[in-house]
Symmetry: C2
Subunit: 383 residues, 2 copies
């Protein structure tokens, strides 16, 4: 590996001092670049909120050591500078309007695994649920995650006990692709019982984290991690969840980010299914019973059944247009197809084809005044 | 028992020749009275459709014998002439606009059991499902039906094997009230394995049928019976149902009649739950897991929890007002509160209190032009 340039060192440093999502820091970096903000943080001169957040860790410049250690593990730091940065998946964070400092995408991602992130996340479904999964829950998780993986979908989960582990293992078992999003550094195997599983996940997909090497898990990091699980997937499936459950937090992030939320029912006598039943009953999730129904929902772009049990994205390659059209929107207010066409540099037919897909994905909406970017809470759930 | 008068004999005769629902016959009876129509049927002179329907049985005047036989069994014929006629429950048939001849209430009902029908049906929930119930399905049926019965709700079902039988038995087991609606004569025990159960149902509630004594079950009679199960209840709960199931037919009738449809989920691996999952997924039914959630939906009038686990109808005695207001509506078109008040002979406050309840029950709706009766397919499902 070549020595990292100063810009990459700046990203690694910022990832260390940020320790998780910070909208203010991300905005500052977007505006001034990572090197300028890294310098400012080191000197304690950025805006007071950023200073307060980073003050405790500003002196810890382990960037070079972290990058070197991760490289030794076969990993890398992926930043918005890189072609593989999953910009499309992270777009909806830009529409969140609540203004909480944690309502933002990751600054950068630490990754173990060979394949580019944008490719891993192009067709991805999150399969999550309770650590206290029942035998039924583990069985159904295996069926759904295995079928999704066979069909070429990346199975994203959190590497926890129970539903998460069953989802990763099912994807691994069929030779599929799976991604674990951790709430600690990618050099840590958490839980430690999953050391071997995490190594296999890195081989067949990726282990990723927004936290720098050495970071230990903590409750608030799990909540931040859940938002990345939701963001990196075209739909979130909750297989089993108790009345209060981390999986419901992931589902709530999915709704905010415009991702369909799906829930698998179970016996009403099973505590492990109460959270799923509640979400279905209250209209927060759509009931699904198999991978086919998951794919129906995950296809923010249409999915067609070829009749032989395999599914085909009927609009492969549309993502590029969708992204260009989305980027062509003004930050605020509505506009029409001709303006979008001009701004995106695409002809009107391609704009017209992309808009309904963006609408299905919960990213834009239409009213009397034209098309506009969608913000905040409204997702595609309940459509 | 006194000798039946000629009018009651006419009802019994018409019930025999009609053999199930006939809107044309019911309309003719409503217009000209049972005796005139009975005479006309005997002589073969009514409208051609009614003649065609009744021709084969017009000569079979077993009315006196049927009434006597049913009286010997401790039963009776209940007709729209009787105070106990469940007119309120049967009202929605009047709003069905498809015009199929079977889209109508029963002409009359043959009943075994001591308590008046209107009282039995005032707080009633149908609990139905597949004959091929799983152990799980029978368990959940028992829990829900038992809890409903303890809370004073009449449990209505069809006396079939599986979910139906579990529902009746649970109500009987807690000393509650239960009603079996049969697709054959009330003198027949069908299925015969349920002879003892049906006797107990008659003792603790009622066994009812629109078919005269001696009628044997047939497929089209089960479908017609399902509409009475739906009509006599404030909500229909489907506990288990296969992909194609009679219970879904009952649910479909419930939707047409403005009754909430509820479905209990189960393992996605269980064939017996596929129909329930499909109804929930497609928005045809609301997921419920216990009696409490059933009561929430069945309360077309508000139901309040007293905090000690018992529920209280907060608007006891409102039914009379609701019925009077409903009857005051013009058959077609909208009207305002003052007109309804005058026509119903109730002061405007009572009309204003009744209207939202009628709206919740799916019987009336409001738009810019005022209040009007609702027709056809729209129910309260998905509210």
């Amino acid at each position: 590996m070549n020595a990292p340039d100063t810009r990459r060192l700046a990203w690694a440093y910022l990832s260390t001092v940020a320790q998780g999502p910070s909208r203010r820091l991300a905005d500052a970096v977007a505006q001034h670049g990572p090197e300028a903000i890294a310098d400012a943080v080191r000197e304690g001169t950025p805006g007071s909120e950023i200073s307060r957040r980073t003050r405790g860790r500003a002196h810890l410049d382990s960037a070079a050591a972290d990058l070197e250690m991760v490289a030794r593990l076969g990993g890398r730091l992926v930043t918005p500078d890189d072609a593989e940065w999953p910009a499309w998946q992270l777009l909806p964070f830009g529409s969140l309007t609540t203004g909480t400092d944690s309502d933002t995408g990751p600054l950068a991602l630490w990754v173990l695994g060979r394949r580019p992130l944008d490719e891993l996340f192009e067709r991805a479904v999150a399969v999550v649920g309770t650590r206290a999964a029942s035998g039924y829950g583990e069985h159904v998780t295996s069926e759904i995650a295995g079928d999704l993986a066979v069909d070429g979908w990346t199975v994203v989960s959190g590497a926890a006990f129970g539903v998460d582990a069953a989802a990763h293992r099912a994807a691994l078992g069929v030779g599929g692709t799976t991604v674990a999003v951790l709430a600690c550094g990618i050099d840590r195997a958490y839980p430690s019982a999953h050391t071997v599983m995490l190594r296999r996940i890195a081989e067949q997909g990726a282990v990723i984290s927004e936290y720098p090497p050495g970071t230990t898990p903590a409750r608030y990091r799990f909540l931040a991690r859940n938002r990345l699980v939701a963001a990196s997937s075209s739909a979130v499936v909750v297989v089993e969840a108790g009345w209060r459950s981390g999986a419901r937090n992931t589902a709530s992030w999915a709704r905010r980010l415009g991702r369909p939320v799906l829930a698998v029912p179970g016996p009403v006598t099973s505590a492990a299914s109460q959270g799923c039943h509640r979400m279905i009953r209250e209209g927060e999730a759509t009931l699904v019973g198999n991978a086919r129904e998951v794919v129906e929902a995950a296809g923010a772009v249409a999915v067609a059944d070829d009749g032989d049990g395999s599914w085909r994205r009927s609009l492969d390659g549309m993502s590029g247009d969708m992204e260009m059209v989305y980027e062509a929107f003004p930050a605020v207010g509505a506009c029409g197809v001709p303006e979008l066409s001009e701004s995106a540099g695409l002809d009107v037919d391609r704009v017209r084809a992309a808009l309904p897909l963006l609408e299905l994905a919960g990213l834009v909406s239409r009213d009397d005044t034209g098309w506009s970017r969608r913000g905040g809470q409204n997702g595609v759930v309940g459509m």
